[in-house]
């Protein structure tokens, strides 16, 4: 997928000025945030569950190579084929190759963020294979000129019902309706024949279970199960970090994921795909291909950011992020938005293409407070800022002002003089109403806010005068 992360500022400005988006984003706050809180409260000791989730993910990542090999062996033993892709281009080539080798003309797809990461649909189309998105949200985006998703769990969260009604009316040519049930039926009528006529189904995988060689998808729509069982070929594409050792481990993560994501105790569907259809089976694919993507993950594993690989893609960090709530996912300019995206995008797509992202958070810590596997997201963003400073990627003005400020703050007497001058200067700027309406070099602040002016003398001056008095 093309990356626009360095345009974050401009995209965020547009987002703030877009009334439809602002209306749509309210849903995050009124639905997902209280939903997660209620589900966690109802569970009982959700904090202990988060600890267990963190430990399971850590155990998997500590011996990632061994668990992946185990997964591969078990999957192969059950008739699946396992493919390893170093990057997006390799993953696309493998999947296009499978399609071409089997004369595939049409693919039905279940929601997969890794396929967005790879730009798989473009690769399929270029090879003459038609991909049909069958997740309702992804379907809406696909018929809207291939618009990218704005959320990893609710891809079309940025659209209002009104907008979807208009879109369906324009694309389906049926009378406009705002009834959600009717809209779903419209999509279903179009999608059902595709499931039956597609030669191949593509899904992602929320988890890989090493001891059984299974891929697991967690979804609220029946499309996932249809994609993975009806066509004669099933391809599951996912990242190498998704492996967990055992079914027991999986059961813990399945308790955490939906509660953190949508506030559900369990999703409508939890599908485990293990091997190909056996001779007595009435359904299931003849071929089951599992494509495991690296694309920067092994680099993250060996870095200071490795905790990020614990991520189970619930979206709680973005749901609870005040910046995401204000600007939505498209502002972040790539596949993964919000705090998890601000950490991952520079790692996967290259720091030079995403150097704004680690700065796009206030450091409020709400994301790590709700993360089901306790990823210290603000700390990881801070580490990325350190990497940028070390690599000389920050603008010279910022580097210089930090150095100057730091130097003066380490020279106490000089700092005292500097702040005494600043206090007087700012007081003068404030004038009679003691408010600065325009701050030199501080337009970022005073474009939308006044800056309350100080009293005119520093504490240090006043305290010293008082001490001399006594």
């Amino acid at each position: 997928m093309e990356i626009h992360s360095n345009d974050f500022k401009a995209r965020a400005r547009e987002a703030l000025a877009n009334p439809n988006l602002q209306k749509a984003l309210k849903l995050v706050q009124v639905k997902f945030v209280p939903g997660r809180a209620a589900a966690a409260a109802e569970f009982g000791d959700f904090e202990a569950l988060r600890d267990a989730g963190r430990d399971i993910r850590n155990r998997a990542l500590e011996n990632l190579d061994l668990w992946l090999e185990r997964f591969e062996q078990e999957a192969i033993r059950r008739g699946a084929r396992v493919h390893w892709a170093r990057d997006a281009a390799e993953a696309n080539a493998i999947i296009v190759g499978i399609a071409q080798a089997n004369g595939v003309k049409k693919v039905v797809k279940s929601k997969s963020m890794v396929s967005e990461e790879c730009g798989l649909n473009d690769a399929l189309e270029a090879a003459g294979v038609t991909p049909v998105e069958t997740d309702l949200g992804e379907y809406i985006l696909q018929i809207n000129d291939h618009e990218p998703p704005s959320h990893i769990v609710a891809p079309v969260i940025h659209k209002t019902r009104d907008e979807v009604s208009d879109l369906f009316h324009a694309k389906h040519g049926k009378p406009r309706t705002e009834d959600i049930g009717a809209l779903c039926r419209e999509a279903r009528e179009i999608l059902r024949p595709h499931f039956l006529s597609a030669d191949m189904g593509i899904s992602g995988a929320n988890f890989l279970v090493a001891e059984t060689g299974s891929t697991v998808i967690v979804t609220n729509e029946g499309n996932g199960r249809l994609c993975t069982t009806v066509p004669r070929i099933h391809v599951a594409l996912t990242g190498i970090e998704k492996v967990v050792p055992t079914l027991e481990d999986l059961s813990v993560l399945l308790r955490l994921l939906p509660r953190s994501a949508t506030g559900q105790p369990i999703t409508n569907y939890v599908s485990m795909n293990t091997g190909v259809a056996g001779s007595g089976d009435s359904d299931g694919p003849e071929q089951f291909h599992i494509v495991l993507l690296d694309n920067g993950r092994s680099r993250v594993l060996g870095s200071e950011l490795k905790e990020m690989l614990r991520c189970i893609r619930c979206g709680a960090c973005m749901n609870h992020c005040p910046v995401y709530q204000a600007v939505g996912g498209h502002a972040y300019g790539w596949v993964y938005p919000g705090p998890m995206g601000s950490v991952l995008t520079p790692s996967y797509a290259g720091m030079e293409h995403a150097h704004e992202l680690p700065h796009t958070a206030t450091g409020c810590g709400q994301c790590s407070a709700v993360c089901p596997v306790r990823i210290p997201l603000p700390e990881l963003m801070r580490k990325e800022r350190e990497m940028q400073v070390e690599a000389g990627l920050r603008p010279w003005q910022e580097r210089l002002s930090l150095k100057l400020w730091g130097w003066s703050a380490s020279q106490s007497w000089l700092y005292g003089i500097g702040t005494a001058i600043a206090a007087r200067f700012l007081k003068r700027l404030g004038g009679a109403d003691k408010l600065i309406h325009r701050l030199p070099l501080g337009g970022g602040w005073t474009d939308g806010r006044d800056f309350p002016a100080p009293a005119g003398k520093t504490f240090r001056e006043l305290y010293r005068a008082r001490k001399n008095l006594h």
Binding site: K9, A12, R13, L16, P322, V323, A326, V327, H359, T360, A361, T362, G363, C364, G365, Q366, A369, E379, R382, E384, R385, E386, M387, Q388, V389, R394, E398, R399, L402, K403, W405, G406, A409, S410, S412, Y415, T419, A422, A423, L426, L435, G442, G443, G444, W445, D447, G448, R449, D450, F451, P452, P454, A455, K457, T458, F459, R460, L462, Y463, R464
Partner: protein, 242 residues
Amino acid sequence: MRVALFVTCLADLMRPNVAFAALKLLKLAGCTVEVPETQTCCGQPAYNSGDRATALTLARKVIDEFEGYEYVVLPSGSCAGMIRAHYEELCKDDPALLARAKKLAACTYELTDFLVNVAKLESVPGDFAGSITYHDSCSGLRELGIKQQPRQLLGKMGQVEIKEMSEAETCCGFGGTFSLKFGDISTKLADNKCENACATGADAIVGGDLGCLLNIEGRLRRKGDRKTQVLHVAEVLAGKLD
């Protein structure tokens, strides 16, 4: 109790009364208070910006100045959080400094936390009369667990009524340099905070971190609200200063 007051750079420059109020409250709580004269900043702006070298220089200076006191108290959850939650990571490559940083972290407190849990202040002299709504600053809340402490102290004031706002625990949008780099997003977040605070009808918005308070007040005034007071919790608790 021998306490060192860390004024914080924002209070020093922008609102000295916050530090004088903290001084008054600590003395009332029976502490012998000293204000190390060479203090400047805890280094948080550099740390958060990724300038580790500058942050380390300042952390070293803070440790030099403040170690040896029984307690170090700051009228800011964010600066106290820097010392308590982040100095250890910052100093990790220098074992001798790390040991000193850990020791300092263990005796460093945010003001209201110290007054409630260490000094056990019984009564507060503040004479504010009216309703207030309390904004929970992010670092204080999530790094140090500051939530009930300020409310408990304000609750000792007979004429204060606390009206809780919705989303009291949501960020006001300040975020240090974030407020300058991403001014329009920061303003939007401040707007949400002001709306929630004003919806309570409280006479004053009170908090424990000057950065948030400047941000909230700045947005309120720009929108034309000259009435709602924006006060640091130390100012409300201490009342008149001499």
